[in-house]
């Protein structure tokens, strides 16, 4: 499918810079797709493009705990990013059918989890589960002929912390919602960020029959990302837009 995949391992960054890097790489991507691997420091809540931050997130609690908040370019739900690996796959060549394109990329993520000894399966539209529990959520957007899909692969889950920073639709149902999430979401116990990073690179290589090219962000991407982090993803205008 691809002869090469450019691999960017950008380490741990604040939320605004992480989302800015995804957009900057998306703007700059050539015919060679990009696999970006990253984490979040400090921990962060990201909300979906269509969500209302004020309705979904306890902003004061986030401030107290030092948790970043950012709106994503992609739809879907609110996520607490803490103990996980996040990936982005950015490409100019992709199936036009949305369902098919999720499966196309999620197949590589499923392979990467199974390579570590699990039995993961893809559940459309955008989830990956192991033994009935969600271990990965994925979301994509398409802009100017470029597809960006990013997703989390959970290494561990702190549901109590998650619901200290996320609001629930009904306070009366808080305990039930937390219990449900504990039963439905899980991390990949015993696996590290580095285990997952190594596995996901190998799986994208195999899935797309490509040579991996380890690379660094270029000057253009860095300066564009810094601008976007300050003026877009770090701004109230973007984060509180809905």
């Amino acid at each position: 499918m691809f002869s090469k995949i450019r691999v960017l391992e950008t380490g741990y960054n604040p939320a605004a810079l992480n989302m800015a890097l995804d957009e900057a790489v998306m703007e700059n991507v050539s015919e060679v797709p990009v696999l970006r691997i990253y984490g979040w420091r400090p921990a962060a809540v990201s909300v979906g493009y269509f969500q209302s931050i004020k309705e979904e997130v306890d902003l004061e609690k986030c401030r107290q705990l030092g948790v970043d908040i950012v709106r994503r370019l992609t739809g879907g739900g609110a996520v607490l990013h803490e103990s996980e690996l996040t990936y982005s796959f950015i490409t100019r060549q992709y199936p036009q059918n949305i369902m098919e394109s999720y499966r196309w990329i999620c197949d590589a993520v499923v392979m990467s989890i199974n390579r570590l000894g699990f039995n993961a399966i893809f559940v459309p539209l955008n989830d990956i589960i192991v033994n009935g529990k969600k271990v990965s959520g994925n979301a994509q957007t398409r802009k100017k002929g470029v597809l960006l899909q990013h997703g989390t692969i959970l290494l561990s889950v702190n549901v109590n912390k998650m619901f200290s920073v996320l609001k629930v639709p009904s306070e009366k149902l808080r305990d039930k919602i937390i219990k449900d999430v504990k039963e439905r979401v899980s991390g990949l116990a015993g696996r590290t960020f580095d285990d997952m990073a190594s596995s996901i690179k190998t799986s994208f290589r195999d899935k797309f029959d490509a040579t991996l090219i380890a690379d660094d962000l270029n000057e253009k991407e860095i300066s564009r990302a810094e601008w976007l982090a300050e003026h877009k993803y770090g701004s109230e205008g973007w984060n509180l837009k809905r």
Partner: protein, 91 residues
């Protein structure tokens, strides 16, 4: 003018914040939020703008929503569930 707010559980959660004119039952402003997916994303802003002035009646709402979503793909809601979510604000 009256304000309404509704949380509607379809396949995904839809939140609607609405201002409407009681005298003629038309929408003055509307914000639709939720954990759904919509491609292209900008369609939602067009939809919100086009719903202004629409009567809070099932047929009018559904017709306007269908028209706006015609060339898009939504996952997690459809025109029926979104119509229900909007009408729920005025109950």
């Amino acid at each position: 003018m009256r304000k309404g707010h509704n949380i509607h559980k379809s396949q995904k959660l839809i939140r609607v914040m609405l201002e409407y004119e009681e005298t003629d039952n038309t929408i003055i402003s509307i914000t639709i939020a939720g954990d759904f997916f919509l491609y292209p994303e900008e369609v939602l802003e067009t939809l919100e703008a086009n719903l202004i002035g629409t009567k809070l009646e099932r047929d009018s709402l559904k017709q306007e929503i269908d028209k706006c979503l015609k060339n898009s793909e939504a996952f997690g809601f459809d025109s029926v569930s979104l119509t229900d979510a909007i009408l729920g604000c005025a109950r």
